[in-house]
């Protein structure tokens, strides 16, 4: 049996956004995105769960130092998104619709370069307590 363990770190950020496709008319945006497209924005308490999976390092007993994982999330993700307007204040969503799906991939790509390649990364993002997304997806 392998020595692989999954470790998790949960953080949260509060942000405003709206769903809007700039290629479409306001009418089409309203038809597709409904009240999520209202012009003056709305917002969410986002909860992000980061899972890192790998072999336990024999010297430390850690898969990954959770403090380092927490600091990484803070520096690479929360600083950009917390108490911000995702559409207006972030370079990542200047031309990308800030759906939960797109946000989770952006978070993955912000973190991936800073975590050892021997470790697997998986993100779950809650937009509300009842809506959440996961990336990457492994189809078995």
């Amino acid at each position: 049996m392998s020595n692989k363990v999954a470790v998790y770190r949960k953080e949260h950020f509060n942000a405003a956004h709206r769903l809007y496709n700039s290629q479409w008319s306001d009418e089409q945006n309203a038809a597709v995105f409904g009240k999520c497209s209202l012009p003056n924005y709305h917002g969410h308490n986002y909860e992000v769960e980061v899972r890192v999976t790998g072999e336990i390092d024999e010297a430390t007993g850690f898969v990954m130092d959770m403090k380092k994982l927490s600091d990484l999330l803070q520096e690479k993700v929360l600083v950009k998104f917390d108490h911000k307007n995702l559409n207006l204040d972030t370079e990542e969503f200047r031309s990308l619709n800030p759906t939960a799906e797109n946000i989770v991939i952006v978070i993955y790509n912000l973190l991936r370069p800073h975590i050892e390649t021997s470790l697997d990364l998986f993100i779950r993002l809650y937009e509300t307590p009842r809506n959440f997304v996961e990336y990457p997806v492994f189809i078995k």
Partner: protein, 136 residues
Amino acid sequence: MVYVTRVEHFNAAHKLYNPAWSREKNDEVFGKCANDNWHGHNYELYITIKGKPNVDTGFVFDVKALSLLIKEFVIEKVDHKNLNVDVDFMQGKLCSTENLAIGIWKELQPHLPAGVQLHGIKLYETPRIYVEYFGE
């Protein structure tokens, strides 16, 4: 007397900003909550009423009817909205959770039927921050 609570939720943008103050003072007092381009929350709203159960129904008030009242007079006005810009009953007020709870009380209270008293508003701004207002 029995207390009955209905829970609803809404998502909204806001900022904490006092227009009578300078940008610097707003940043000093409200920190990142004063961000010009807004931020937002998933608000959870607990509405508690009180009364004597009706002899015929066993209800203080039909909770489905309570839910419809909350939706019509509160949720419709605030859900997926910008509290500072879009919400009539918050105009000219600081959009703190405290003021929002008082505003919600004033919107809802006149629509409850005789014999049903509004007891309290509990409003969560985040899972870790909430306020309560009892009309005092």
